[in-house]
């Protein structure tokens, strides 16, 4: 499966619940099986993205942190 990112969401600086709300809206714009990348600075987003993926069935394929920016790669269900 290709790892090409279909869409990137810049959520840096946003606080709860906006990173998740905007991801839920943004993922509608990609097709099933495609990848979206979300960049956030809210430390709470680590737990939130894991929980959100679990509850919605979208797959969290990659997550990491670089210089205070959290990066999540999600494959749409």
């Amino acid at each position: 499966m290709s790892m090409q990112i279909a869409k990137t969401l810049d959520l840096k600086g946003l606080s709860c619940p906006l990173p998740i709300v905007k991801t839920a809206q943004g993922i509608k714009e990609v097709a099933s099986g495609e990848l979206i990348e979300a960049l956030a600075t809210d430390p709470g987003s680590v737990a939130d993205f894991n929980a959100w993926c679990k509850s919605t069935g979208n797959e969290l394929v990659e997550q990491g942190e670089d210089g205070g920016v959290f990066r999540f790669v999600i494959r749409k269900k």
């Binding site: 946003l14 606080s15 619940p17 906006l18 709300v21 679990k54």
Partner: protein, 178 residues
Amino acid sequence: MTVAVEEATLEVPAHEHDEHPRHKKLVIIAWSGELDKVWPQMILATTGAAMGMETTIFFTFWGLFSLVKNEKHITGDNWMQKMVAMMDRPGMEHLKLGKMNFVGAGPAMMKKLAKEHNVASPGELLQMAVDMGVKLVPCQMTMDLLGLKREDMIEGLGEPAGATAMLMESQDAITLFI
């Protein structure tokens, strides 16, 4: 005589617990009209919708005041209802804090802090909730009690309902009273 008891299989595969939440519905009973409670009402409603939960907010008592148009000063038909609106101006932009209100200085400070920290205001979150399909249900009885009419209130509300309809809705839902 012996009765064969079938061995109960109570164990549910772990992954089923992990992957699927038991509730796919969220009901928030929005009772308070205080800024520091309306905020979590809106945060939880938008998050529920973002998680794919069928989300309903039932607005009752002071909670209804957040649905009154901001430009509306006085609501109600008789002097008592008007008094209530006068002492506690309705509208999402005019909510007071439950503590540290300081005649409006508290809410102003809170809004300034929220802006600096990129926290969406309750009004912005309410609009997002509407856009995401959250059902907003005003309580008919409190509307009558406070003399609130549909034209006093913002667009996008569902049909007013009562306690029975709400409890039916919450039977298979996570229900929060805020």
